[in-house]
Symmetry: C2
Subunit: 183 residues, 2 copies
DNA sequence: TCCCTAAAGCAAAGATCATTGCGTTTAAGT
DNA sequence: ACTTAAACGCAATGATCTTTGCTTTAGGGA
């Protein structure tokens, strides 16, 4: 027995196939029925996988959905950089709106909101970090908290409680412009 | 048989007792375990009520939580009426902030957010109705959607994701004042 | 290529949830 | 006070989810 014993996970081949099938199934079902109505036996059937495999890997439906939905909005994507803070914020807000118009993304946000009591949603922590970056790059001028309160918060509110209102034309611009009103 | 037959709902007495017991049980359990882990048999047991009664009245856990979250803040309470829209909105916002500083109220909001999924249920619809009333009484001047986006949404966001920031001094005034900036 | 074993599949048992029919209680109207 | 039926409680049933022991498959290092 060698001293360095690596457990030797098996992430390729069959395991990867199961993961892919489950991911597709979850996304479809979340979109069709809403995250709360998605069960593990349901996902397993659509994925053509044994329910036991899913139970063993994720434990319960909430963990599974949270895990699979997390990868969506990349933290490494390039941020808008036009040289104009207002334009950058509008582009950025628009990206976020588009993101949350995907039902799976909205479902994850709901899950994050429900679980936020203990551990908080890193998805939104990233948004705050991005806002900070945008603002600081422009040399300040708008408090980050104001961006959260008046751009992110309205979007999140709409995602959670009035998803249809995300389609409103010029939403991103309207929200951002209010930040600069009376300055 | 008289022509006008009123269905004669029975909202008092025993029904009211059941409602109160269920409400308390749901608030406790949502706070303890999170909305996703709350089931109807569980609620019924803690409320000392038969599960069937709960199933008959609400149908499923999500509807129940959403319903109870919606009506926690009395819809009959008097709204601020100083004659000045801005002052009224600040008072009103302050009330809402105080309300959601109660952990049980915050937990119910999380539950409402998690259960909202389908899109037909907005546990904050009463707040919207109140905003409409305040604004219309003052003869308009501020769109109701703006009140939602820039006063309610920031409060809700903070309740869900950054509860400690509800203690910020002058939060209500700051939010409302931005509504009137540049007008 | 040959082991070793992580991970998937299978099947049965147990737990929990959800529905339904029927009798009982009791609020509301006369 | 009497009547009516809305809402509740109970119990049995069916559906669905979850766990568990065992077997089979196949990834990865030697």
């Amino acid at each position: 027995m060698s001293a360095t014993s690596s457990p030797a996970r098996r992430t390729g081949g069959r395991s990867a196939a199961v993961l892919a099938a489950v991911r597709s199934a979850v996304e479809e079902l979340v979109q069709e029925r809403g995250a709360a109505q998605v069960t593990i036996p349901m996902v397993a059937e659509r994925a053509g996988v044994n329910p036991t495999s899913v139970y063993r890997r994720w434990g319960d439906a909430a963990s599974m959905i949270n895990d699979l939905a997390t990868y969506r909005m990349s933290p490494d994507r390039p941020l808008p950089d036009t040289g104009d803070l207002r334009a950058d914020l509008i582009d950025w807000a628009q990206e976020i709106i588009e993101h949350f118009r995907q039902p799976a993304a909205a479902a994850m946000l709901r899950g994050g909101a429900a679980a936020a009591g203990a551990g908080d949603s890193d998805c939104l922590r990233n948004r705050r970090a991005e806002a900070t970056l945008l603002v600081e790059r422009a040399g300040g001028g708008v408090p980050v908290d104001d961006v959260i309160d008046h751009v992110i918060a309205p979007i999140v509110y709409r995602v959670l409680f009035r998803p249809w209102s995300l389609d409103q034309a010029d939403l991103a611009a309207d929200l951002v412009n209010r930040l600069f009103a009376g300055r």
